[in-house]
Symmetry: C2
Subunit: 142 residues, 2 copies
C-alpha cells in the first residue's frame, strides 16, 4: 500500500491531491517549491511506471510548473526527479530567482533550512489550494 516516505512527510505540507499524485509544499519559505509524489506503491523511477501513469505524471508536472510560474513570476523553474536520498519517486518543482540565496546553484544540498512561520504557511497553502482548484484539473484540497 502507498504511504509517504517519512523524510518527505517531515519536510513538506500536504497541499492536496491530483488524480495520480499528492501535491506537497516544501517547508522552505525562501522559494515556492512543490513536490509531486505519485500514489503508487514501490515506485522509484518515472520511466519504470506504467505508460498511463507516466503520462499522467507528466501532465501533473506540467500543471504544477505552469501554475507556479504564473503565480510566482520566477526567473527559472527547476524540475527534477533525483531520489538519491529518498528513493520514493518524487518530482521537485522549484521556482528560482536570480536574487535567491543560492542562485545559480541547484537548491539540492545547497539551500539552508528556513521553514515557513505558521501564519505564512497557512496563507501559502490556502493560496495554492485556491489556484489549483481553479485549474479545473481534478485537484482536491481535502
Amino acid at each position: 500500500m502507498y504511504s509517504l516516505h517519512s523524510q518527505l512527510a517531515a519536510d513538506t505540507e500536504l497541499v492536496g491531491r491530483l488524480p495520480l499524485s499528492d501535491v506537497l509544499l516544501m517547508n522552505n519559505a525562501e522559494l515556492p517549491w512543490i513536490i509531486l509524489v505519485p500514489r503508487i506503491e514501490g515506485a522509484t523511477e518515472w520511466h519504470a511506471l506504467r505508460e498511463d501513469h507516466r503520462a499522467q505524471l507528466h501532465h501533473e508536472s506540467i500543471l504544477i510548473s505552469q501554475t507556479l510560474m504564473e503565480r510566482f513570476n520566477g526567473d527559472k523553474l527547476n524540475v527534477g526527479s533525483i531520489g538519491n536520498m529518498v528513493p520514493q519517486l518524487h518530482v521537485h518543482h522549484v521556482v528560482r530567482y536570480k536574487s535567491d540565496s543560492v542562485w545559480p546553484k541547484p537548491v539540492w544540498g545547497n539551500i539552508a533550512d528556513q521553514p515557513y512561520s505558521p501564519e505564512v504557511l497557512e496563507k501559502m497553502l490556502s493560496h495554492l489550494r485556491k489556484v489549483l482548484t481553479k485549474t479545473g484539473k481534478m485537484f482536491r484540497a481535502d
Copy 2:
C-alpha cells in the same frame, strides 16, 4: 533559427537526433550522462512548449531514461531540467551509482571534470548509437 548553446556544445558530443531533440553525451567519463535539447528556437521551459512538443519531449526523455538504465545498470537515474547557467532548454539524464564519487549529492556543481579519452569516447558514442537505433524510435545517428 535553432542553434546549440556554446556551453552545451563545449561540454558534450552529439550522439544523434530524435524527432524533436538532439541527443548529447556529456563528456564526463565517470557517469553515463545524456542531455536532450529540443531543436526549438528560444525554448527555455518545458511547460511553456507547445503541447505536442511537450509530449514528444516527455516520450524522448522516457526513451533515454529506459535505454540508459537498461544498458548501464545504475542504482538511480537523476533527471532534471534546471537551466540556471545555460538558459536553453535541456534535460539531463544521469546514471548514478552508490559507488560514484559524489553519491548521494546531485552531480550539478559537485562532480569534477573528467573527460573521456578519445578512444573510450568513440566506443561510447558508437554503443549509444547502436542501442538507440535498435529502439525503433526514429533515432538518426547522422
